[in-house]
């Protein structure tokens, strides 16, 4: 990795270590102070053009930020992802673009109905928006014929096992639909986000493995450190080697389809095993490892499905394979 990226990585790492305590964030949310911090560091508006107060960073830098932050606070990484990978491309070059200034400075909290649970029609939305992550937003993009903006409203929280620093739930609103004049679709932005998603995955994997590797050399069982047991050492080493391969693919921007597929294939297994290594302790939140397993499962189930496998197949076969 070149120097500038290494510098960035170290900066983000140092910042996260000092400021992002996911245990507190999971219970107390991403408080104003944290938002101000990540905004002033330029992480919040990482990809947003500088004319809107963003950092206008390149793809690789953005991915490094997501990866390093999600090692410490997956919730904060997800918040950055929602703004930069989902919201931004939808309002880009439209009259809504100006909202980016407030978003990247942290004054406005935005969200996107990326689970696509709500069928929107007409000019007004009066009712309940279901299953919105980062639900206490004041600007939410929903999808009908095209994307539209609605105002936030009263959140009816639901338990969501991942990214608990963000509110999740249904929102009661009464709002005009402000149509966004863009050809960009939800499908497009998700496909364009493969590297960003993989970067969050890499962060989760790395965070979990760091914990497990450390624990395996400290914790003793039957009077020897866990790492002296072959199955533990072999499994963790194999997983570290896969993690490093994923990092290489992402650093060199080899192929976003391959990266997504590979990261999703190792994600849950790795975070699960990292928990396992901690034995009974791993099952308790205080040890800071079970969260990676929860977040990993959420990433796997939300951002990787049949349609992504079809995209991968189309990519590999060189044409949309005619599925029956």
């Amino acid at each position: 990795m070149e120097d500038e990226y290494e510098l960035l990585r170290d900066t983000v790492k140092e910042f996260s270590e000092k400021n992002l305590d996911e245990k507190r964030i999971e219970t107390g949310g991403i408080v104003e102070n944290i938002i101000q911090n990540i905004a002033s560091q330029g992480f919040l508006g990482a990809k947003i053009p500088s004319k809107f107060g963003g950092s206008e960073l390149d793809e690789k830098s953005y991915n490094i930020i997501l990866r390093e932050i999600s090692k410490y606070s997956p919730s904060v990484a997800m918040k950055i992802f929602i703004l930069n990978s989902l919201y931004y491309p939808l309002v880009k070059n439209t009259e809504m673009e100006s909202t980016l200034s407030d978003a990247s400075s942290g004054k406005m909290n935005v969200s996107v109905d990326f689970l696509n649970k709500n069928k929107i029609e007409g000019e007004k939305f009066n009712g309940t928006l279901n299953d919105i992550l980062n639900a206490d937003s004041n600007n939410i993009i929903v999808f009908g014929k095209g994307p539209s903006l609605v105002n936030g409203g009263t959140v009816m929280e639901k338990d969501f096992m991942g990214f608990r620093g963000l509110k999740f739930g249904d929102i009661k609103i009464e709002s005009e639909l402000q149509h966004i004049n863009t050809k960009v679709t939800l499908n497009d932005i998700l496909e364009d986000s493969y590297n960003a998603i993989s970067s969050i995955n890499l962060g989760l994997i790395s965070g979990a493995l760091d914990k497990a590797m450390e624990y395996s050399t400290i914790r003793k069982a039957f009077d020897s450190p866990l790492s002296s047991y072959e199955p533990v050492a072999f499994n963790l080493s194999r997983m570290v080697s896969q993690k490093n391969i994923l990092e290489t693919i992402l650093n060199n921007n080899i192929d976003s389809y391959y990266a997504l597929n590979f990261s999703m294939n190792i994600l849950v297994e790795t975070t699960r095993y990292a928990l396992n290594v901690h034995g009974g302790y791993g099952y308790f939140g205080d040890f800071g490892v079970e969260k990676f397993y929860r977040d990993a499962m959420v990433m796997r189930s939300i951002f990787y499905g049949n349609s992504d496998l079809k995209k991968l197949s189309g990519h590999v076969y060189g044409n949309k394979v005619g599925f029956i």
């Binding site: 689970l115 696509n116 649970k117 299953d131 639901k158 338990d159 969501f160 096992m161 003793k220 069982a221 039957f222 009077d223 199955p231 849950v268 699960r272 928990l275 396992n276 034995g279 009974g280 791993g282 099952y283 308790f284 939140g285 205080d286 079970e290 397993y293 929860r294 499962m297 959420v298 796997r300 189930s301 939300i302 499905g305 049949n306 496998l309 599925f323």
Partner: protein, 358 residues
């Protein structure tokens, strides 16, 4: 043995479906609170028949299928009871009847903070002093720990003998002076169950509190594990089935027919069927007093992995519909690979047994 109990199974399932509503399950899970009312109801009504092991297994399975947090809580008051039943004196055994009817709650204290799966390495010490024992030490991750009336405790009683020698079991009244339980919070799953860290500070025990003979504790506990593992297999089987219920419901409701999902359905259901056959087969030997430890360990290890696998598949297949009940199943499942001996320990038991034969 199990086919004949289909009426009992039906009764349990109906009870669980009626009592473990989504709203109730959610509440106890969120509040991380033990469901005393439900546990009492299931036992005091004689709903769960604690005197027939095949019935216990079925009750565990069917209740965990609906909700593992509540289901385990409702079937755990007996936790450790087998040690009393098999090795206890008459006075100790008398407690069991109250346990069967939900009036007394038991617990079992084996694992220690530094110990994990290394039972033989435990440090809690019961020092003989006249006709008394003075208990000191601590236990970790003890189910029912903060709510039990009595706790079966494994402690060292000899300084000379090492490892699994010189261990003994005691029945400790949790109201004893010097007994301290601290509820452990923020568990990933089975949050309705109670888990605690226990400290013994000069807890005074009489000779009557000794279970069985001094120095045989390790043997008693290993005998216990050979029984309890099958109940953990039952929990895991129930969780797997509950996960599959969700998959089936989702696939049918949304009329999903794509082949990739059909293959997943086949794989998950096949693994669950294998876990079921392993569990029932091992249980049928055990309940006929002809235990096959390797079969029990296989059942436990396989069913535990199947619970995790099935719950992950339920999350994947339902994908962008993050139903709270499915997430709860996923969070509950993981403990199945950890408690009553991690999968790793099971594997060592299995290989050791298997390689013994010819």
């Amino acid at each position: 043995m199990f086919d004949e109990l289909s009426d009992y199974r039906k009764k349990i399932r109906e009870f669980a479906l009626r009592e473990f509503t989504e709203e109730t399950s959610e509440r106890y899970d969120r509040n991380e609170e033990f469901p005393f009312e439900i546990a009492k109801k299931s036992l005091s009504l004689g709903m769960v028949d604690m005197e027939n092991p095949a019935k216990i297994l079925i009750a565990i399975e069917e209740m965990c299928r609906v909700d593992a947090g509540l289901g385990i809580s409702a079937t755990l008051p007996y936790f450790g009871g087998e040690v009393l039943f098999l090795f206890g004196n008459d006075k100790q055994k008398k407690i069991l009847n109250d346990v069967y009817h939900g009036k007394v709650m038991l617990s079992l204290g084996i694992t220690e903070p530094s110990g994990g799966s290394d039972v033989a390495g435990l440090k809690t010490f019961a020092k003989k002093s006249g006709n008394k024992y003075i208990l000191n030490g601590s236990k970790m991750f003890i189910s029912n720990g903060a709510i039990a009336d009595y706790m079966v405790v494994l402690a060292r009683t000899s300084e000379e003998e090492k490892r699994h020698h010189g261990l003994s079991t005691f029945l400790v009244n949790t109201k004893s002076r010097g007994f301290k339980a601290t509820k452990l919070e923020n568990k990933l799953g089975v949050r309705a169950t109670n888990t605690a860290e226990i400290e013994f500070n000069d807890v005074e025990l009489s000779e009557d509190d000794l279970i069985g003979e001094e120095g045989k504790g390790f043997y008693y506990i290993m005998t216990f594990f050979n029984i309890s593992r099958i109940y953990v297999a039952g929990q895991a089987l129930g969780i797997s089935e509950g996960a599959f219920d969700k998959i089936k419901g989702y696939v049918k409701t949304n009329n999903i027919t794509d082949e990739a999902t059909m293959f997943e359905v086949a794989d998950v259901s096949t693994r669950i069927e294998a876990a079921r056959q392993l569990t029932y087969n091992a249980a049928s030997y055990l309940f006929k007093y002809d235990p096959k430890p390797e079969l029990t360990s296989m059942a436990k290890a396989y069913a535990g992995e199947t619970a995790v696998y099935s719950s992950e598949k339920a999350m994947e297949i339902t994908g962008k519909s993050p139903d709270e009940s499915i997430q709860r199943i996923f969070r509950n499942a993981k403990i199945m690979e950890i408690w009553e001996g991690t999968s790793e320990v099971e594997k060592l038991v299995i290989s050791r047994q298997i390689l013994k034969g010819d």
